[in-house]
């Protein structure tokens, strides 16, 4: 489990930030993206994927979360 931060990029896309690895990348897909259910498996632009516990969509971004690594790019 790693502490991550999800924020909005300049074009409205989700941006994933993992401070421990200085990894900042766009999220290309998120499993659930509705107000009631948000999160699940997320895929990054660099090919990595992480899992965050599905939850109600956060009221505002950025938000700090715990994420599990499914498949890191490097």
């Amino acid at each position: 489990m790693a502490n991550i931060m999800i924020q909005r990029g300049s074009k409205g896309e989700y941006v994933f930030y993992l401070p421990k690895r200085d990894l900042e990348d766009n999220i290309v897909s998120m499993e659930f993206d509705t107000p009631e259910k948000w999160g699940g498996e997320i895929k990054l632009n660099n090919g990595g994927s992480y899992y965050i516990e599905p939850q109600a969509a956060p009221a505002k971004l950025p938000i700090s979360l715990r994420a599990r690594r499914l498949d890191a790019a490097e």
């Binding site: 924020q7 401070p19 950025p62 490097e74």
Partner: protein, 484 residues
Amino acid sequence: MSALTKVETQALIAEVLEVYPEKAKKDREKHLAVNDQSIEQSKKCITSNRKSLPGVMTVRGCAYAGSKGVVWGPIKDMIHISHGPVGCGQYSRAGRRNYYVGTTGINTFGTMNFTTDFQEKDIVFGGDKKLAKVLGEINQLFPLNKGISVQSECPIGLIGDDIEAVSKKAAKELDKPIVPVRCEGFRGVSQSLGHHIANDAIRDWVLPRRDTLQFESTPYDVAVIGDYNIGGDAWSSRILLEEMGLRVIAQWSGDGTIAEMEMTPNAKLNLIHCYRSMNYIARHMEEKYSIPWMEYNFFGPTKVAESLRAIAEHFDDTIKAGAERVIAKYQAMMDEIIAKYKPRLQGKKVMLYVGGLRPRHIIGAYEDLGMEVVGTGYEFGHNDDYDRTIKDMGNSTLIYDDVTGFEFEEFVKRIKPDLIGSGIKEKYIFQKMGVPFRQMHSWDYSGPYHGYDGFAIFARDMDMTINNPCWGKMKAPWLKEAAV
């Protein structure tokens, strides 16, 4: 355009690596690269933020240096105790030239050294009692201090002292913020983790203190973050922002006060100069207080103008007009400086090896003078720093991470730059080799270099170093060939 082609640069790296044993070679290989602007992610070509190789000369600092020396030290109205043996604080005292306004020893304490001076018995029996006593003494002797931070040196973590408990108790008794910082020198691979720890300490112990307090804000409040006022840098940046109509409510942390820092969550925009040392707190403020942040670069007129416009983008038309006004106002002065110095500096090659933000930020200033940066590197940069550097550097230039003394010397011998910008530890080696050198950590006791006023000084300094007549007199007269 670079002095060497890509193949030549790669050959140079291979040649320099030749002397290392197999294992060391494999490790160092990853830290040296030829720049290729087409690469999106730096980690494909360079590895950074890794432990230095034992046995080579590195110029990195420690976590304590990152916290006490960089982030906390410049906060002028707080007293920063170097908690542990006396040396760490004494030998780094006032070395960074973070200028400030105030009466030292009365209401500001920037250049003073406070230490708990650990002795053997403190290591054996624990130093918490001593710390409590020191906190009381400090408050009695310097009653105008606005807070105290406890900067741990290595032994604190090793003997397991509970500085948090002592600080909390003393904070209650003295009614002042007392901040324990767990920045023991052995943490992390370089000073970079010290920055992070210091940022976290600010987040946990300083920022929430005034969350409920009323603040008369304006729509134009900004905070300057990551400018340590070296030689007055923050001042020459601040005047530009104020001239364009913004109100700077806090300076982090050069010439800064703890009150300013506590008030920063009221800013409308955080401006980050040193990304490496303070992006953590900017990200925190974005999450908790919804304050957007942006990086800017105040080195050289091109980048200053670019940054002023980018900053103005976040505000309304009065600020945008203000930015144009400021740029126009200084344009004549800049043209004059460039006209004066460019002919003397045109085409000169520069190699940089600094920390934090400078290996990429200064490139623009050199380019304004017609000079070319042919090699650059960070002491303690991370991937994201190199991501940003790749775009700023020319193709097939050299990039080196945590370069060793040997590698740097060999690179210089081959590339033969006209100027090297690095720190005090490199200065005399290269000067003795006959290469002009400027310290780019402390601006060689000159400065400021930020902003328009800073560029005038920067240009003068570079000229007086490179075109100094002493470089033609490296050989003693009796060793020279008989005059023809």
